[in-house]
Amino acid sequence: MSDRLDDLERRIDELRAGVRTAMRARDGAHARVLRAELRSAERAWDALVSGEQPAKEEPPRLVTVREQVHQGLRLLGAAAQPRLIVAVSTAFFGGTISSSRLTSLRRDEERSFRSLPFGRPYYLCAALTDRLSPARGLLTLSTWPLERRVVGPLSPRVDFLTCAIAVAEQKTHDERADRLLLRMARNIPGATDGTLSPPDPGRVAEAARAELRVHADRDTRDRAELAERAAAQLGDTARLFGAATLSTIKKENAT
């Protein structure tokens, strides 16, 4: 066996050198071929060393990704980025998702909606920009009123403060939740005592509300105006998943 291992190691070294030489010469095609060979050699090496094929164990998944995101968004109560949703899910629901798995989620939802409109009790959908296009990297729930799903200039901040309040007001707080709250609180004036100790949730919520009051009027106005436009100009699908471009709006209006 050790002969075999030596051979493999030699082969792996050669292949690695080959790949790196090819990469330095920016010869992508050749590098790809060599890389594939290299991976299989490496797998063989792993198998020999550990005596078995490394099978990555998937943790038992009780709740679907979709449902975990839903839970997270419901808790937050405002449009949020995948990173925050994942953090909330991990902190409060023992969630297991990683933000990379959320990238295709919105498209899947849209496909599902198009094939069977309103076939599900909720959809994970887009937040809408002032052009009524989908806002990059923000998720919302179809069950929310349009005002909550549109983003005016102040909305990102308002949503962040809303989320912070929601996190602060959770009853159960373990270490992970504390860390999440601290991270948010540090970006809200007056929410922490300036140290790294877990912040007082009441104080965080109070501080967030105080700042929220500064923005509330204008943001509410902006959102109402946007929501009105969205309701008037967008069809069902676009209202949930955003209008792709200006031309889409025209087309949808025409039909």
Partner: protein, 376 residues
Amino acid sequence: MSGLKREGDHAHRLEALRGTTPQQPHDARAIAALAANPGCARRALMDGAGVDKDAAARHLGFPAPFGQSPFAITRGNVFEALVKADGCAELLRMLRELLGLTVAEVAYHDVENVGAHLRHAHTRTLIDRAARDGHDAGTLYDHPLLSLEIAGHTAYLEPDVVAFQLGGRFHIVEIKSFAVIDGQADPSAVAAAARQAAVYVLALRTLLEELGHDPLKVSHDVVLVCPENFANRPVASLVDVRRQLAVLRRQLTRMTSLDRLLEELPEDLTFDLRPDEDGRPTRPVAELGDALRRTTARYAPDCLSTCDMCFFCRDEARQEGASDLLGRQVRDELGGVASVTEALGLADGTRDPAEGQEEIARLLRNAERLRGECLA
């Protein structure tokens, strides 16, 4: 009239130098790098003509020794996302702490919402509105797209964020993932960031000027955001880029005055790589090498960290036995003596000094005598 004609010729000559190779677009980093070795005619011509130096060096068999680790790239992306997360919550905190931004100022515009093709126009509109409306304008502009004319070509530039409403002035925000530890960062990394940010400042000032606003509404202090100490937490510092701006202006002026260099070139000279349909260069390597060697390089060891052509030029310097190989300081110390054998010949007396070399010859002979005496 003749000026116009010359300008046309000039552009035409540069096109010819590039040949069928696609124009290499300048990004902020490339523009900032123009100042790395302005005395190098080879580089000035390649940059001016928009030749892809990296591709040329590879084709010549001298690929540049630069590469970025995937770990560093990931780290950079993750950090930028963190700074911009949740409506730029971290950025707002820092601007409030560092520049006294008021709590009410939080309006966020993602310029990219309009789609890639409209980004530049939308940036113009938003910046125009901000400069005009003053206090009612937005605070943060994410993913803006600016432009700058470089030697007759438009370069598109993507600053990380433009912040407004800090004392009524625009600030360029530059997000970098090198660490600031106890208030200090790697000075060469900061310098590179400052040079890059200066390009954005200039582009934004140019835009304001075009729109009829005061270009000085763009601050020469840029906001540099980096991770603090060993954590991911961002920290902002103000960096004064006035010096970098002055250097940049000088270099851009030089770019438009390549005439002298162009005039010295043979009519038929071209750096064309003759790419095939897949973009692979087909020009015989020796031919390309010869073409490049007809321009004068000014190799210095610093090129090894700043120029794609460095290994090619180093090889050339080796073949010529140029004392440039040993660094600018050695070269300077040797006065006018450029070649290694010449210097050694003067040192051991096998070569008589030419006119004007008496001095360095005396010094070298003295040095040679001392070395001989001490090592005997």
